[in-house]
Symmetry: C2
Subunit: 187 residues, 2 copies
DNA sequence: TTTTGAATCGACTAATCAGTCTACAAATCT
DNA sequence: AGATTTGTAGACTGATTAGTCGATTCAAAA
């Protein structure tokens, strides 16, 4: 249900990633999605609202994935390992969403309001890090710095993986990649 | 000399960073730069050529800065330290260029040709890494992975620094930041 | 001095875009 | 059933955009 709405969202995502916002007219989104422009504007009042919706739904989707299979009883390192691979597998499974998210999370198109709204959802990562710092497992540097560093590093690794998808299933590669990550944050 | 051309480039950079490509008409660039649209198109055949020029000149500027004061006689770690801070200080000194570069280096606006052309200039970084791997100083992981990881991490650190510019001159912060970087790549 | 071509200007145009309007059909409610 | 809301369509419009064109200025070469 709500198939038209979803078709519009899916099509817009693809077009935005491949051509950018400005080269993607609403008329083309509607046409490729197989609906009329009236329908598009029925679901989204403006083009900007469509973009923001796309961004928020993508972020929700990612955030939910990050938490999967994170076992409370495991060590902190094991938890980070799980989150790390959740992120990576999500990116590989949803390449368009991943590219959309990294390309546009710093874009002036994504309004400040939207950014803030999205930010709060990473709360549990912050808690994980704080705990790690208290226990002297992670580096005692400003937490915001650590978060940005992690996110940047992850982006780099994912970028590499996107260009070398065959590595994804090599165990050695996986261990290497996580070692980069863990060495960065561990104290 | 060529002041008009430079005015156009400077103005375009500012507008692109603050408003994005699509919300920045050539007419506004010309107006803000204090020239006529005809003049803009005299120097740049198309808007896209203007964008690509901006990207390439920015990349040149960055690349040149990276090499400054890298002393051949120093240890590998010291060389990396120098490059690391060259990047960071460049970013702080040229915030608009920095934001333009990171925001748009993955953008569909930057044509593939331009990307490739720009890529070759990081040659010396690759050589530095290879040497480090041969000497068992750096991690023995695929070199492209290491490069992407470094770049991602650096982006994250810079992003944090942009939001906390007062930290820039704290020695502790500098050491913390470089430690993140070095721990990531060292073997 | 004369000639030439680059630099500059801004009015203009053809194309395109975001969003509107009207109409009708399907679903949901009373 | 009848009434009201929601979904869908696509032609249309007013505004905006990238890029053009012919006129003018200016500096340097011949």
């Amino acid at each position: 249900m709500n198939t038209k709405r979803d078709q519009i969202l899916d099509t817009a995502l693809k077009l935005f990633v491949n051509n950018g916002f400005h080269a993607t007219p609403t008329s083309k989104i509607a046409k490729d999605a197989g609906v009329a422009t009236g329908t598009l504007f029925h679901y989204f009042k403006t083009k900007e609202e469509l973009i923001n919706t796309l961004y928020l739904e993508t972020k929700d989707n990612l955030t939910n994935s990050l938490l999967e299979n994170v076992n409370v009883q495991e060590t902190l390192k094991a938890k980070f390992r799980q989150v790390f691979f959740n992120y990576i597998f999500w990116a590989v499974d949803h390449p368009n969403h991943q590219q959309f998210y990294t390309s546009y999370s710093n874009s002036p198109f994504i309004t400040n309001l939207t950014k803030e709204h999205g930010l709060q959802r990473f709360q549990f990562i912050y808690e994980l890090i704080e705990k790690g710092q208290d226990e002297d497992i992670l580096k005692a540097v400003p937490i915001d710095l650590l978060v940005e560093a992690m996110q940047g590093l992850l982006n780099g690794i994912i970028k590499h993986l996107m260009e070398n998808p065959e590595k994804m299933n090599e165990e050695k590669y996986q261990n290497d990649a996580f070692k980069l990550f863990w060495d960065t944050i561990k104290g």
